[in-house]
């Protein structure tokens, strides 16, 4: 009876149909379980991404209350070439040029120092990784106090610029960069340490026995062998640094005299959207940020295929 019922279920339909039905059921299940993720991506990633291109074509008059009107491509060139935007872009590039090299060099130095198997090394590794969990808000509060002209460490160290660092047109951007460097240090250390672990110790040991000094070994062996890791770290932290916003928002703010000197890209976009109430111009700037991110990602993929590696 059991055998017969199993047979019953299988045989009446021709084999080809069952296979096709099964395929169809499998595809149906696939689309069903893909749906939640695709719905989120569609609504909150792709739709707004493509809508940026539409927003670009509309200009909002500076007078509040008037509706946006269609201007086609005419808004793009003036926005991209406006002093406000080019200054913001230059500020961001200077910021990135401060943050990325310094945080990566410090991270690499810590990773090399922590690479030896010593007693208690796990504690040092934990300390060096720790800033990765710091949020931009925590880092800003911490450094905002350290940089404070009255209660901070600066007066004690005898460094006391007037006006104070965060209100000083020369020092505000470097100060924000220092905060970001500290915050990036943990990530940089973690990435560099992981890379170092893939460098064979025997190779470095052999070089040491052959009489290569620590300096030579570092530059001639560690750095070249680590180049794929370093490249990855450069790309990732450059992308992150271009997205910086919180430290400027918390420590500088809209009323500050140095605002134009720390007007990084995202800060400028938020300001264009919310203060100037101009979504069209904001969309154009956001698209520039996208193009920067895209070219960095493409660069990374090209290099990963070829592997930056000489050994």
């Amino acid at each position: 009876m059991t055998v017969a019922s199993v047979e019953m279920r299988r045989s009446p339909v021709p084999k080809e149909t069952t296979l096709r039905a099964r395929r169809r059921r499998e595809a149906g299940l696939a689309y069903l379980i893909l749906l939640p993720a695709l719905a989120v991506f569609g609504t909150f990633t792709f739709y707004p991404f493509f809508r940026n291109f539409k927003l670009m074509l509309y200009e909002t008059p500076p007078v509040p209350g008037l509706p946006a009107h269609y201007v086609g491509l005419h808004q793009i060139i003036p926005t991209v070439t406006s002093t406000q935007f080019t200054q913001s872009l230059v500020t961001t590039i200077v910021f990135v040029a401060l943050v990325v090299p310094i945080s990566l060099i410090l991270g690499l130095a810590l990773a090399v120092a922590a690479h030896r198997k010593l007693k208690g090394i796990a504690i040092y590794r934990m300390i060096f990784s720790s800033t990765v969990v710091s949020s931009v808000a925590v880092a800003s509060v911490v450094f905002g106090t350290l940089l404070n002209p009255v209660v901070g460490l600066l007066p004690w160290l005898g460094i006391n610029p007037t006006p104070p660092a965060l209100e000083n047109t020369t020092w505000a951007l470097p100060a924000v960069a220092v905060i970001t460097i500290w915050q990036f240090l943990g990530l940089s250390f973690i990435i560099m340490s992981a890379g170092l672990q893939s460098v064979p110790d025997e190779l470095l040991e052999a070089a040491r026995i052959d009489g290569a000094g620590a300096w030579t070994r570092f530059w001639r062996m560690t750095v070249p062998l680590l180049s794929p890791t370093i490249f990855f770290a450069v790309i990732v932290s450059t992308i992150y640094a271009f997205q910086s916003f919180g430290a400027v928002d918390i420590l500088i703010g809209n009323q500050s005299a140095v605002r134009l000197h720390t007007n990084v890209l995202i800060y400028n976009i938020v300001n264009t959207l919310q203060v100037e109430n101009n979504p069209g111009a904001a969309a154009i700037m956001a698209t520039v940020l996208f193009l920067i991110t895209l070219s960095l990602t493409v660069l990374q993929m090209r290099f990963l295929e070829r592997r930056v590696h000489y050994a």
Binding site: P36, F49, A114, A137, V138, W156
Partner: protein, 281 residues
Amino acid sequence: MPEASAARRSRRWRTAGSYAALTIGAIIVLVPIYFTIVNSLLQPDQLAHQPPRLIPPAAQWHDYRTAWDSGQLSRYMTTSAIMTVSIVAGQLVTSVLAAYAFAFLRFPFKRTLFLVCLGTLMIPFEVTFITNLDTVSSLGWFNTYEGLAVPFLATGFGIFLLRQAFLQIPKDLQEAATLDGYGHWRFMARVAVPLARPSLAALGVFSFLAAWNQYLWPLLATGGTTPLNTVQIGLKQLVGTSPDQIPVALAGAVIAFVPLVILLLIFQKQLVRSLTAGAVK
């Protein structure tokens, strides 16, 4: 023999040098955190003391109470916790489901859809927030938990990470499960997910960190001055210009930082795994 002792001595010197370098590094990294903790325990009038105090003369915990109560940090911590847990849970579920489809099922447009998921990695949230603000408002989600969490309920990174983990599962195992009469749901729950636990943990820790520390979106999606602020935005409110506010803001920073330090202490390995995914190999 003297040669051997010379070698031993030079190695001892090298070890001492390493410890010196490590300790200098540790001091540089920890100084900001250390002074934050010390200053948060001082009276406002002790802050300007020169040279800065290394040890608080008498620990004053009342700034923590001020930050927690009148600084409303208790409420902000709750908001952050609810938002973070929703995002982590949502990302784990949507990533498991989507990754399962890409790893184990055959269907038309599989490659295209996978590339679509990876494509999201190239579009940072900073590019899409302009329209997302409109979307969230028109859904009536401005200043709500939905508005804070729903845009982040799926992640291309998570799908990629879990697909890799699922693809490691031996084909034999899948065939054996099929022979045992396992359907896809049962195979997912009993075999695939348990075997992918390390990757799930890595993804979970990574999304927790990212969600808890978010700044731009919680600021925009709540307007920044409402009871539904996350703890990060709450910190911005605590940063006052008056010196007697400083210990309170610092206490707030410590409170906001502690959950993540605990996370790091417990899940360091998983965190490192997720942060370096794609870096090596």
